[in-house]
């Protein structure tokens, strides 16, 4: 029986078409990811080379004045993307992965963007995660919507019933063939992704695979539920497609729009004005006032006094510091809003598998907004380390050549995610079980 059903399954044109589309787009998606990672990798290599040259150059130009030298010197801090980012590019194409910062006022430098075509960002990426979330459900619908209704419409269903075997079992058999087929296609794509993107067999990768499969089970359960209602093929198609449209296209857009408008981040603009003003106004205000604030922040530097008249680097860097220190309130308000956005997204996403899977994929691949905020915070720490390293040298007016400049290589951000598999899959599994349960209930009542 199975054999015959499998034969019948592979004879249909839809199957070949579905397989062809998924493989083609899958390969395109994986190579998009590959290209993306390659571009990022090239930029990283260039950064390392550039920093070496840049330091060499500047040290040569300003060898007499370490204060002036540090006004020009830039240090790179890099968020090295994981290979899994090739599967879920997430927000990592919008947000820069390399920071080049001077030890000056950081808030004026931290949010600089990379050069990306906004058209491309708007159209979005065709990565594997998109394929899984967006296209796989459609293929599942196309394969399943008429498995029962078609037989009824063609009159073969009566024959199946006459054969005496459990019709339910027959239906399950048909469905399972499709499930196995889709699972194999997905597995092939994951294997391809693993090889092409050289993803190690880590828990991250396995988590990605698990949530993808659960997502696919969810769509099978939904199809099963609709099939068991025993409507005509056309009604089934329209019902399933409408659910797809609502779940994958419309609701995500609605949810995002709601979140964006609920928490507008106007504070970003307030912050950016504030950090400029707070530094610049120090040129015209009482020097000792500025220094008092600076010494309060760094008591260890209070021995470096500043004269009321004339320029000194201690004063200059203290002024720069004020840009960061005095815009703290606006900054924390801004981050607060961003966090609220992320939090609300997460909460709402629990109820909608496509949203949940997208956010989870991004989290696993470290390409989420939260991850970028972590990178920004790590940039602040990196910047602070540089400050603490160079402030005393500048204030002591050390000789430029006394510093071993070769040690100043780009540093890398160590990304970690706090992805919880259980928390993520429980809501989807629950939804899937509810769908399966109600399908069974409906079937056996009939």
């Amino acid at each position: 029986m199975y054999k015959l059903l499998i034969k019948q399954f592979f004879r249909s044109k839809t199957v070949l078409l579905a397989f062809g589309i998924l493989m083609l787009l899958g390969i395109l998606g994986i190579s998009t990811g590959k290209q993306f990672l390659n571009q990022k990798q090239t930029a990283i290599e260039k950064t390392t080379e550039k920093q070496r040259k840049h330091i060499e150059n500047q040290v040569h130009l300003h060898k007499d004045d370490i204060g002036l030298l540090l006004y020009y010197l830039k240090f790179s801090f890099i968020n090295n993307l994981q290979p899994t980012a090739g599967i879920a590019i997430g927000q990592s194409d919008v947000n820069p992965h390399i920071q080049n910062v001077k030890i000056l006022n950081l808030e004026g430098q931290k949010y600089d963007t990379d050069l990306v075509n906004p058209m491309r960002l708007q159209v979005g990426n065709l990565d594997l995660s998109f394929l899984i979330i967006f296209l796989f459900p459609l293929v599942i619908i196309a394969l399943n919507f008429n498995i029962l209704s078609e037989e009824e419409e063609n009159g073969t269903w009566k024959m199946v019933t006459l054969q005496g075997k459990s019709t339910f079992q027959y239906l399950i058999m048909k469905l399972s063939i499709r499930l196995v087929f889709v699972s194999i296609v997905l597995a092939v794509l994951f294997i391809l992704a693993k090889v092409i993107l050289s993803i190690p067999f880590s828990s991250d990768f396995i988590n990605m695979i698990i949530i993808s499969y659960i997502y696919i089970f969810f769509w099978f359960a939904l199809c099963f539920f609709v099939i068991i209602l025993r409507n005509s093929s056309n009604t089934n198609a329209i019902t399933l497609l409408t659910s797809w449209l609502v779940l994958v296209v419309f609701l995500p857009v609605l949810v995002n729009n709601y979140i964006t408008n609920k928490y507008p981040v106007g504070e970003a603009l307030s912050m950016t004005i504030k950090q400029r003003d707070e530094y610049h106004k120090r040129w015209d205000t009482d020097k000792q006032e500025t220094m008092k604030k600076f010494y309060a922040h760094y008591p260890q530097f209070s021995k470096y006094k500043v004269e009321d008249k004339g320029f000194s680097w201690v004063w200059y860097y203290a002024m720069q510091q004020m840009g960061d220190d005095e815009s703290k309130l606006e900054r924390s308000q801004m981050y607060d809003k961003i966090e609220k956005r992320a939090e609300l997204s997460k909460q709402i996403a629990q109820f909608f598998p496509p949203l949940q899977i997208q956010l989870s994929m991004n989290t696993i691949a470290n390409t989420s907004l939260a991850q970028h905020v972590k990178f920004l915070n790590a940039t602040s720490d990196f910047h602070e380390r540089k400050r603490l390293d160079f402030y005393p040298r500048i204030f002591e007016n050390e000789n430029v050549n006394s510093v071993d400049w070769k040690n100043y290589k780009p540093e890398f951000f160590k990304a970690e995610n706090n992805f919880s598999l259980i928390k993520t899959i429980i809501p989807i599994l629950l939804l899937t079980l509810i769908l399966l349960g109600s399908s069974l209930l409906i079937h056996f009542r009939k």
């Binding site: 927000q91 947000n95 600089d112 056309n234 995500p252 015209d284």
Partner: protein, 482 residues
Amino acid sequence: MKKSVVILIAKQFFKKTFNSKGLMALLTIFLLVLIYVTVDGWNAFEANHHTIEHHQDKARKSWEDNPDKHPHRMAHFGTFAFRTQHPLRIFDSGIESYTGNSIFLEAHRQNTANFSEASLSTGLVRFGDLNIAMLLQLILPLIIFFIGYAAISSEKESGTLKIYYTQGVTMKELLLGKSLGLFLIVALFFIPALLALWSIALVDDFHLENAAVLVRIILISICYIIFYAILCSLTIIISGRSANSNKALLSLLGGWLLFFVIIPKTSQVVGNSIYPNLSKIEFRAEVEEEVSKKGDSHDPNDPHFNKLRDSILKVYNVTDVKDLPFNYSGFLMSKGEEQTALIYNQEQDKLIKSYKNQNSITNGLVIFNPYLAIKNLSMSLSGTDFTTYVGFLNQTEKYRYKQSQYMNELQMKFISNKATTSEGKVHVVGQEYWKSAPKFEYQFLSVSKTIKNQLFAFVSLFVWFIVSCIIMIKFSNRFKII
């Protein structure tokens, strides 16, 4: 072909569909969503407008409040340009979520436009933006397909098509009539949406030339009407060509997936891989290399600028720059600014060119894909497209350059040649000069430029319309009746 028959068929289709059980529910849901989206769009736009204006004023005020200062300090104090939105973004927000909202303009440094909405959003932003155009471009076509897929195929299945035929109704009349009927049904959906669009012109008080907005709105309306005419006829044609309704629905949905999702994404991906653009690090390296080739005014030993100095000394017949009648470092900076701005602009133009090349695949495909045509037209006419954004960036750079040079001129004129530092209250220019520096006024791209940019998309839409008419009229004999 009898006109009356066409109209009769259209009427019949309209009545039958209008009275079907699902339509009212669908229409009600659509209208409710439309109202939500419009009101929400208005609120978001006004909130954004308010935020931008508030911050622009705040930034300007703190600029004007600066005390007497050394002009170079002012040059680095700099200005913020915050991007104002075109009111038509309520209708179609185009690429606005991905374009920077704030750009810091200072002397001899070109900064990036930061804080795009997407950079402050979670991954959900990538599913798309909610606005009227999204409903019109993605959702309504699907509704058209759902309503119209069985228009002819069901008649075929029930055998009524033969009856039409025996009564002397030709396929041509049937195709045209059904298309017209479908179009009238669809009008129930898109007319309210276009009314929402027109409401933007009526209530607009955002200091824009209303005439320009009106022209845009009229053009947008025309484009969408043609777009729906195309979709309705295609739906009917496919319904007529399919053996049964099932196949008609599948072909239409497959077409939707291909034309509305896969082609747009793939073409952009392909464009990006054929024409990769420089990363920021490479871009900066190119600029720096050019600058060091042509001369770096920050390098005291730079041959180019030393030559310039010597020639100036010669002209004024002095031996030391301190004896010049103007502030030499101001002069040096103005020359340096001129040089680097030129180099930067060349590189920036190259970058924009590579973006344009990336987009060219998509822009070329508008002839094959009416969805891409309407998408491009809609966002261009709504002032939310790529070209408009490039216009914004160019204007900010122009403004930045002017302002830096203004400060350099002030320095040359008023600052003593013996000044060594910008610190303290000695070498300063009066604060009245800050007020007299012009504000940044962002100008949207003119309608005529937009039309010129999108001429190809206009033409494509017309071509599709004509082709679908020709198929219905000239090739109607290719449609099978049984």
